[in-house]
Symmetry: C2
Subunit: 153 residues, 2 copies
């Protein structure tokens, strides 16, 4: 699962910075022939180390001007309870991130909304309706300081 050597690490770093780099340029950058580079990249993709390639689109351009951080507690920690909650939360398209957490709350969510009215709808129709929820705590981002797509680049 981990990269094998320094060249794989260099490949990963490069595609994290520029997902549209051509294989030819990538090969030159990491000091490999195009064919060798293509083989390695293929392995990294097929083995799941590289999940995919995406464009970053400014959320504001999509009219998503609001980010909420939502802490949620459930009525219990049984596997069945967690599974039912997780299956349901995955269906909400506004939930960008969801982690099962240690600490006071069971889950933390990052939710995108177009505006406050949109968030109220999401809160009412989605979040409050999730199974086994006993406590919800929403706070809102006033400003984005950092949003890096990847670690260590």
């Amino acid at each position: 699962m981990g990269q094998r050597d320094a060249i794989d690490a260099a490949i990963l770093k490069a595609v994290q910075q520029n997902g549209r780099i051509s294989n030819a340029d990538l090969a030159e950058r990491v000091g490999l022939s195009p064919s060798a580079c293509s083989r390695r990249l293929d392995i990294l993709e097929k083995s799941g180390v590289i999940n995919g390639y995406y464009a970053r689109v400014s959320p504001k351009a999509l009219d998503y001007k609001m980010i909420a951080i939502v802490h949620i507690s459930l009525s219990g920690q049984f596997a069945k309870t967690l599974n039912e909650f997780e299956s349901a939360v995955k269906l909400c398209p506004n939930v960008l991130v969801c982690y099962l957490m240690s600490g006071e709350y069971d889950y933390i969510l990052r939710v995108a909304a177009k505006d406050l009215e949109d968030y109220e709808r999401i809160h009412r129709d989605w979040l409050s309706a999730l199974p086994h929820v006993v406590k919800i705590n929403s706070s809102f981002a006033l400003r984005e300081i950092i949003d890096r797509p990847n670690v260590g680049v």
Copy 2:
């Protein structure tokens, strides 16, 4: 800043799902000729609607097995205080996300670490050392349920 019409929206949706789609394929998908599609994509990139393209790499493959959510409060809310904190936090490569928040804490951070020992180092050398910090509260992700790169795709 917002997209102009349905075709731009379709272009954005496509590149969010596949950042490596070729212009020819993209044109076909949105029902445009390659030249017209290329012109639109160029505008979307140059105007900043599309921020860039990147590969998603499994954090585990990079040996980042740990995600911490860190709530931080500062000693005040003066602009100078916030600015100094924000300039400093941007220098920490392990901080993936940082928002200025409403609510109990001033900032919320998403921090990647290789393991608990690595996190202790980050906490000690970076987070605790950030200017004006008076309270830090770390909790840890036990499991990732959702991690979408983009909203509404």
